[in-house]
């Protein structure tokens, strides 16, 4: 649905030039919620603004729903933008218009007239749960309510895609959850493809089907959450299930097992203890519900070196579990010495 290919963006020129995006490629499938996570300054806003060409990439192509936006004339681009709704961190509502007036703005722009416009705007305000605030000005609304208006405005023209630039970052945790639930509802009810950017892992956990990690203008990894979880060494997976620092474990083996889907409810530790007579200690565990499925990561300590534990580790891998040996390199060094 959204295909970003080899997009780079450099601001300024000469000595003062900053490159915000380096050769970024991204694929967002129809109907999914795709999250881009990264720290402040990573280039997230530049990336999302490149998708509706609010920011024209210095290089690369952006294709949305079959239209290569980077090729379109200004007029065609404007038409294409109607398929792409956008919500903003600071809402960007017109202070001089009521909630309904703000939603109607989107409809006025595309030329929906009079009665139709009023009917449709009230319909959407109802969808976002703000039917009773149609006549309120933004100054009279809470942050969460303002963002609902922002979402309603973005949806007014029946877009196929919703872009969200840190839509919940100015909101408290509870409001964040309610807005994310709304986004999820819209995604399911209207079949909208959603690309959201955030610096909060919780947002990814709560609603995303797929994610990409952006750092210093580069995509480090991307894919469906399920596949990222089962990718060895995935930074995203590690940040989804933070287990903290690895404690000293001289002579012993520390492993991390990632469970996803069906493997989450298997009695793995009990099996290890039973089949290999191992004294397994659990150092940490994190379990989350991601995309409606249980997934998690457990850190275990097994007595003896990794070599000594080869058999049980291979057994676990044989069951389709992702097993990573923590600090293995250090232990190999130790074994050599």
């Amino acid at each position: 649905m959204i295909s970003v290919k080899h997009v780079s963006k450099t601001f300024g020129s000469g000595a003062s030039a900053t490159t915000a995006l380096h050769d970024v490629s991204l694929e967002v499938a129809r109907g999914e919620i795709f999250g881009v996570i990264g720290q402040s300054g990573a280039g997230k806003s530049t990336l999302i603004r490149a998708i509706n060409l609010l920011e024209r990439p210095s290089a690369g192509t952006v294709t949305v729903d079959g239209d290569e936006l980077t090729q379109l004339s200004p007029d065609r681009l404007r038409l294409a933008r109607r398929k792409i709704g956008m919500v903003f961190q600071h809402f960007n509502l017109l202070a001089g218009r009521t909630a309904q007036g703000n939603v109607e703005l989107g409809l006025e722009i595309i030329g929906v007239g009079g009665a139709d416009r009023r009917r449709r705007s009230l319909e959407i305000l109802d969808l976002v749960g703000l039917a009773d605030k149609a006549g309120a000005y933004p100054a009279e609304l809470s942050g969460g309510q303002k963002q609902r208006v922002g979402i309603a405005r973005a949806l007014a023209g029946n877009p196929k895609i919703l872009l969200s630039d840190e839509a919940t970052s100015a909101l408290d945790p509870e409001t964040t959850r309610s807005i994310l639930d709304l986004v999820k509802t819209i995604n399911v009810q209207l079949g909208l493809t959603v690309l959201l950017i955030t610096h909060e892992m919780d947002v990814v956990k709560r609603v995303c089907d797929s994610a990409a990690m952006l750092e210093n203008g580069r995509i480090l990894e991307q894919g469906s959450i399920v596949s990222l979880i089962s990718t060895p060494g995935s930074r995203l997976a590690h940040e989804l299930f933070p287990l903290g620092a690895v404690p000293p474990h001289a002579g012993n083996t520390v492993i991390e097992i990632t469970f996803s889907g069906g493997s989450a409810d298997r009695p793995v530790i009990a099996q290890l203890a039973r089949n290999y007579g191992l004294d397994v200690s659990i150092l940490g565990a994190a379990v989350e519900t991601i995309g409606g499925k249980q997934a998690g990561r457990t850190r275990l300590e097994l007595p003896g070196s990794p070599v000594a534990n080869a058999a049980p580790i291979n057994d676990l891998r044989g069951q389709g579990l992702l097993v990573e040996i923590v600090g293995a390199a250090a232990q190999v060094e130790e074994a050599r010495a």
């Binding site: 404007r78 509502l93 001089g96 722009i109 933004p138 100054a139």
Partner: protein
């Protein structure tokens, strides 16, 4: 000489003030209308043709936009810096060309408009620049054309600041209209000169001052009220720091 004890004095004073006020309102009203019609687009184009602005590249040419911006900047600066009394005299040939004469209220409209346009255009520029870039972006993301952005975002969102700017502009037009009156005749300014100064009538002078003061107060009260009415920011627009409230 004028004698206040003369039974004809008060009706005469009333008549003169009535005519003078009427002429002042006529001059100021028409000049204000023309000022808005020309100054508003001018201010919008001034902001728009700046680098990164909405009309940065008219007809696809950044170079052209830049030239337009420079030329308009120059004209506005020139108009703002020439003292009014000089401008008025310098404009006499032009006024004669447009109106046929340089004497009287109608003729006075020409220099008043020309001095007020750059003044108001600057006010418009300030007001438009205050509009959050995020709002323009939001409208762009909805597929708005540049004119839709001007009409639906820039002007409405800066309306209360524009109204306050207009009120400052009208105050200065009234101010200048009195000056025009002394040279070209017409309006309360010429009443002050003809009766107050040349015929030593303090009563006329005081009456003119009070009348002008009252007109300015009414207009400013009206503007402040309207500005508040159009500001939905939860605080009166009059308290916003960047609005110049005096000339």
């Amino acid at each position: 000489m004028i004698d206040p004890t003369d039974p004809g004095f008060w009706p005469g004073l009333f008549q003169v003030l009535l005519v003078g006020t009427g002429e002042t309102l006529y001059m100021v009203g028409v000049a204000l209308l023309l000022t808005v019609l020309i100054g508003l687009p001018l201010g919008i184009v001034l902001v728009g043709t700046e680098r990164g602005g909405l009309f940065e590249a008219p007809f696809g040419s950044i170079w052209f936009g830049h030239i337009v911006n420079r030329v308009l900047e120059f004209i506005v600066n020139l108009g703002r810096s020439v003292p009014f009394i000089i401008l008025m005299v310098a404009l006499i040939p032009f006024t004669r060309l447009v109106v046929g004469t340089f004497i009287g209220s109608t003729a006075a409209i020409v220099p008043l408009t020309i001095v007020a346009i750059p003044f108001f255009a600057r006010m418009v520029e300030i007001a438009i620049k205050e509009v959050d870039a995020g709002l323009i972006e939001a409208a762009e993301s909805l597929g708005a054309t540049r004119w839709q952005i001007v009409a639906k975002v820039l002007v409405p969102e800066s309306l209360s600041t524009l109204i306050l700017g207009l009120s400052t502009t009208v105050t200065s037009i009234i101010n200048f209209s009195a000056m025009v009156g002394t040279v070209a005749g017409g309006g309360l300014g010429s009443v002050a000169v003809l009766y107050g100064y040349q015929r030593y009538s303090t009563i006329h002078m005081v009456a003119v001052i009070i009348l002008i003061f009252v007109i300015v107060m009414i207009l400013q009260g009206l503007a402040t009220g309207l500005a508040r009415r159009f500001s939905h920011r939860g605080r009166p627009a009059g308290t916003r720091a960047s609005v110049p409230t005096a000339i």
